[in-house]
Subunit: 323 residues, 4 copies
């Protein structure tokens, strides 16, 4: 039975139900990241028992997911373009020697949403507003005057929890179009023996990225059909009071979306501008998931600092799970 | 009395004395980051007592230090160029509505060495070799085939130690041209009541960045005269077996360099390619230094993940000191 | 006696007086470039008597005018950033040989308005409209859906006329703030023995660029005080029915502008969106001016094709005067 | 019968036979462009009879040929990335009004070889040398110190001749792998009633681009199999003393190349560094070819100024055929 399609009235109702505007004052620009307390950070550090650091980042290069085929237009997202300003071959050729030092430098041109990344609170608007009721016109060609990613520069530290929904369901990867629901999340957590609590950084594994990597082909990954969060998980997000949510897909939300014509990504309409939730996308979770399955410990210190690019609506990151 | 000028023979001698090639096997690409053990990481997390996160990054934008006047050519380094791919003003104008979601995206073009950053082991060559004896021709226009910054993706976690040399010396900023020596570092550590040990991330404050910020002018900061490490500190680096070293200047090393004609940045010739030491530059240290002066605690959990841009010789970062 | 300040009412009046909307049909996107006829092009080619080609472009590189000091914010304009994708040093180092050919490639990142350039008709808006009455919302983050510079791809050919106003006035450079008026243009043309006629590409020399080049310093050139067209020259532009107008300054218009608070570049408000006039800026005119002064011939074949970057509001160019 | 494979000895022999080094003095950096005389330019202008301007450029945008599938690695070539620095939607939203003018600006990031372009003389090396015997180490990460494309800034004007080989052969497109030979060129010219002469800009149509455009698919175009110049046409190039040669394919030369292992693009090895011939690629020829077939006039004024990007080894262009 197909899920009921999300309508504009559903969005209005959800906006009413889940709105966190003003919760942290009228000047707030970081939303649910406020849930993390100093005590949470201290406690999270005590989860480190093995001294093992696991990166959740896909390397940033031309083999990334952008440029693959998709039903959804790329909208300007390309893979990173890394170019050299000086090289070892320059050094070898002797052309740097008049400088008195042989060194290499480099440069990158990259859409900030092209790989493993945070979507900041300036990334999605609800009608003419953004998080906390700011006018969407605060995000101009000069960048985000409100809710720029740089506002989170000392915030991305806390307890991380992996919910390995694919493994919980007994599959290598959830199917495209599968909408992860609240019961999935609750049951997965219970089976894993971990409780999600206020201020957590929750990371949900669908297995989709690994499926693409196994195929050696990203077609459909960026903007195509995908497993992901069903609209109803807004309730779960509100209930758990998590700090941020991330996944191993292009956009966290299930695709195709269960919404009526003219509405795309309905879950995004609410999570970012209405709830103030920062979202992590394109996380690489294989190593972490294997480690957690092995030691049965699904909680860890999570540190994923955004690059504080002033006025940015997102940031490429190298998120670390430290166990 | 001016210091004796470093000669090519001094460089050859230093290369002999300080060479770590092979120490971690012939395949190693990360050098002194190997000093950090799992036990060090666990211990570092236990330093977190206040649950306070301090970012050591300068925001990345057009107000950064590149483009300021300098005696040294910019060599292609510019401030970051942040551009928008979609905006809130597009949303307001209604032009995004055919997509069914109002969202913003963005992009950055930036030299990887333009702001707060790691210099990776592909950044400097000693004659025709790089770290561990790799041929400098491993760093081509396609990037670093050896020692790319992505090799450090799960390595930048450990104990951080701040050595606030400016405060120790009783000045707001060390003078340009002042060469920090081994005694300065030892005495500063002793006065601060902290001992540097193997596997530490050592961060040295000269006060220079704050001096520029107070003046509202970066002239001379990039590549100009600066306080920084004297050549003799190679001995201190070797002795302490630190994992990485960072400072609040453009290039860590004292400038002008005390070297004979034809040799620039002699300390770099040895630290990076010969010792295999990753170096942090343009760290913003005011908040951390004030906090440490206040609570007298100069050690902390340090997490500064590089963006794993494949083949990069450096990476912009948002380093975190967690106390 | 200072000129009367241009008010909003003056702009409304000028918009009424000079409006060319609809003149070339409701679908037109190129404005006064329509004045050029095939006969004009044929006639222009017959002006070529010496077989001499003079480039009016400043080279595009880091020595360009952007980045210099200015009263006016740079608004994202930087000098071009040219980077190499493969090099001769790679070739020398032997790292290209597995490809079977030794070659170099390169790349540029450049604001389209950073050097010698055309301002297209999507560059300036009058309130909420652009040329021919199109809605300004046709120019989004995805580019100009109307009046993109690519619409001019086969249009930039015709008779060029140099009006060397600086030489006519007997100065090396007009003073900053000097507003060139209709009489100046008429008298200069008369003295030069050349008549401006419908469909001409008119190039006006102020000498300002050469003044900066002689000083070796661009400070004030981008967005600072400058000689240039007075508001009254709108009448001259209308009367002559020229195809396009160019100058050797950053923005053609006199600066400071003679306008009341809240109005900047009043001449631009009318020329581009109301008259549909394409504008050339940062033209390098020394060689052409010297040649014309020498042979007393101020007319020539002018060819200055825009790069047809789809949706661009301007284009870097290499304009040629062929005599 | 397959053509004999080009060997290294063949390349050495060809280098001997076709070498133009020194022909225009030891300081020359533009090679065969020197063949164009002022008289040629004057004569070329007299070919303009209709006053018709035909652009030979493909628009520069994300629909371009880069990114398509290919047997050949892209080597960093992407389609142009056009981004806006200010927009009409910003204007509409009112956020520009504090500036006193509503305007849009934009920016491009593009490999210089990604679309319609000149390959300059710094683009290909023969062993360790480039055109005129310059050391290949003149092309470093800082660009081409010799033979940069800016050296041609006033040179790309002359007589253009279209050789429509596809039409001559009675096909819509030559087959991939078809090597155009000297007889094809001579016979085509003869049938068209046009004689190629010293200093001409010769443009050869294979029909390949139109074939891709008709399919709506660039797969194979960049770096794949293609019709193009056979190695033997070096003789024709030498004999005709043409100024520059262009085609509607990715690389002018037939692919697969008829060369032994380890040699790719043997014709390029000779044309650029040995003969000093500038090469045009990815020219869009349909409109010109149709016009020539219609009026039987295959000669015209050709103007295709390179953007003088200092030190560039190529340039995107908008070449114009003026008839």
């Amino acid at each position: 039975m197909p899920a009921k399609k999300i309508t504009r009235q559903d969005l209005r109702d959800a906006a009413e139900t889940y709105k966190n505007w003003g919760k942290w004052g009228p000047e707030d620009e970081i939303g649910t990241l406020n849930y993390v307390t100093p005590e949470d950070i201290i406690a999270a550090t005590r989860l480190v028992k093995k001294g093992k650091v696991i990166s959740l980042a896909l390397n940033f290069d031309y083999t990334g997911p952008q440029g693959a085929k998709s039903k959804y237009p790329a909208m300007g997202r390309t893979n990173p373009i890394h170019t050299m300003l000086r090289t070892g071959t320059d050094a070898y050729a002797g052309v740097l020697d008049q400088r008195g030092i042989r060194s290499a430098d480099d440069m990158v041109t990259m859409p900030l949403q092209c790989g493993t990344q945070w979507d900041g609170l300036g990334h999605v608007f609800y009608e003419n507003t953004m998080w906390n009721g700011y006018d969407c016109r605060e995000v101009t060609s000069f960048g985000a005057q409100k809710c720029g990613i740089e506002k989170t520069k000392n915030r991305m530290v806390g307890r991380g929890v992996l919910l390995d929904v694919a493994r919980f369901k007994g599959v290598e990867s959830l199917d495209d179009g599968y909408g992860i629901n609240c019961a999935d999340l609750d049951d997965c957590a219970q089976q894993q023996g971990v409780a999600v609590k206020r201020g957590d950084f929750v990371i949900v594994r669908t297995g989709m990225m690994e499926r693409c990597q196994k195929l050696g082909n990203w077609d459909g990954y960026p903007g195509g059909d995908a497993p992901g969060f069903a609209f109803e998980t807004l309730e779960w997000i509100k209930r758990t009071e998590l700090a941020a949510l991330a996944s191993d897909t292009w956009g966290c939300e299930v695709r195709p979306n269960q919404s009526e014509d003219g509405i795309t990504q309905p879950w995004h309409w609410i999570t970012i501008p209405i709830m103030g939730m920062t979202m992590g996308e394109i996380f690489q979770l294989k190593e972490l998931a294997d480690d957690c399955a092995d030691d049965k410990v699904y909680e860890f210190l999570f540190v994923a600092p955004a690059l504080p690019i002033t006025g940015a609506v997102g940031s490429p990151i190298n998120p670390l799970a430290i166990k």
